[in-house]
Symmetry: C2
Subunit: 241 residues, 2 copies
Amino acid sequence: MVEFDPGRLRVLVFDIFGTTVDWYTGVADQAAEIFRAAGVELDAGTFAEEWRGMYLPAMQRVRDGDRDWAYLDTLHRESLDSLLERHGVGAAVDEQQRRNLVRAWHILPAWPDAVAGLARLRQHYTVVALSNGGFALLTRLIKAANLPFDSIVSAELARTYKPDPQVYLTASGLLDVAPEQTLMIACHIWDLTGARAAGLHTAFVERPGEKGPRIPADRPEDAAADLTAGNFVELAELLGC
Amino acid sequence: MVEFDPGRLRVLVFDIFGTTVDWYTGVADQAAEIFRAAGVELDAGTFAEEWRGMYLPAMQRVRDGDRDWAYLDTLHRESLDSLLERHGVGAAVDEQQRRNLVRAWHILPAWPDAVAGLARLRQHYTVVALSNGGFALLTRLIKAANLPFDSIVSAELARTYKPDPQVYLTASGLLDVAPEQTLMIACHIWDLTGARAAGLHTAFVERPGEKGPRIPADRPEDAAADLTAGNFVELAELLGC
């Protein structure tokens, strides 16, 4: 690993779900509304947690080659169907409501510091979204949340998922910079570990509430990142923006 | 071809060089400066024309499979080297100046209507850049010109060049819409012909000066497009934005 020198950075790549937007609140709120309409008595917050909990294993099977590449919406739909079944409410939630639940992941609220922090960082660096979300999903989400990214890179372009090193290298390659000129920003240690393995530098951003009120978020002291910040505005300050 | 119904459109994909930005003025101005510094007496406008003239044949060889996929910067560099040689000034222009000439294509002025037109269209449609320029080039150019695109798709992602239908289908596929829900906007008939062959709808935007003062631009009466507009603001009006 090349020694960390912020002056050599050219591109900042940001994780989206949890790091830039609050998936928990967004999905739980939209699910609560759909469950009400369907007459389903499920706690939407717990449901959002459980649904998100099926995300890493589903992607793992793609990364391991146990299944062909599949769009994130497809993985979300499969885990949704199985989760509704498990809760015994499979018959109550119809096709359109299931589609709307999957699309809940397309419109999520940004963390309060995200737009302002990105706007500052963008004046000095190329700021890019790098997510396991599909390209269409990310285009919609980033537009709706008004996030000032310079461009969007989806794991879909690498036909695999983070933390596969190929995803991070696809991003630095498309942006025409060396991995060590690239800083990966995330609130998930698994994501930063993957980025580091691909030769990128890493910044941990603490998002204490990102997994909701019951599940503890990853902590900075466990992250071993080049930088640690409390939010995107703090990150801009750390980088002298 | 599905009958054209503007109400069914979801995504607008825009050509960049000539359609959205004024490559002729941008490249000629930057070349004039570099030639002055190098003490080279070449007319920068004519040079820009000639250089651009080598663009379609260079990409054609990639599309035909006569050479492996190569980044647009690489094609520009090869044609630059051969053009300087042809003009007998190969010895006068050094490596750094050649790199700067290739990078002239990364920073180009937007046409005066482009930002305002895109901003209006963006309120009703997903607006996407779709260019033969590389992903890094487009990211830099769009940021510098402050163009409010929702996302960027480069022919690089399809590893071929427009007008190969695969490029247009890569765009509609990544945006998760059907080809007929997609409108390709360009000032080049060859680009619209390629888009139509892939099943997209087409809009011709007239850019009379796009090839500089000596070479006539494509004319609307030859375009056979679903829509024709004088600029992006007129296009917004035609689409009811």
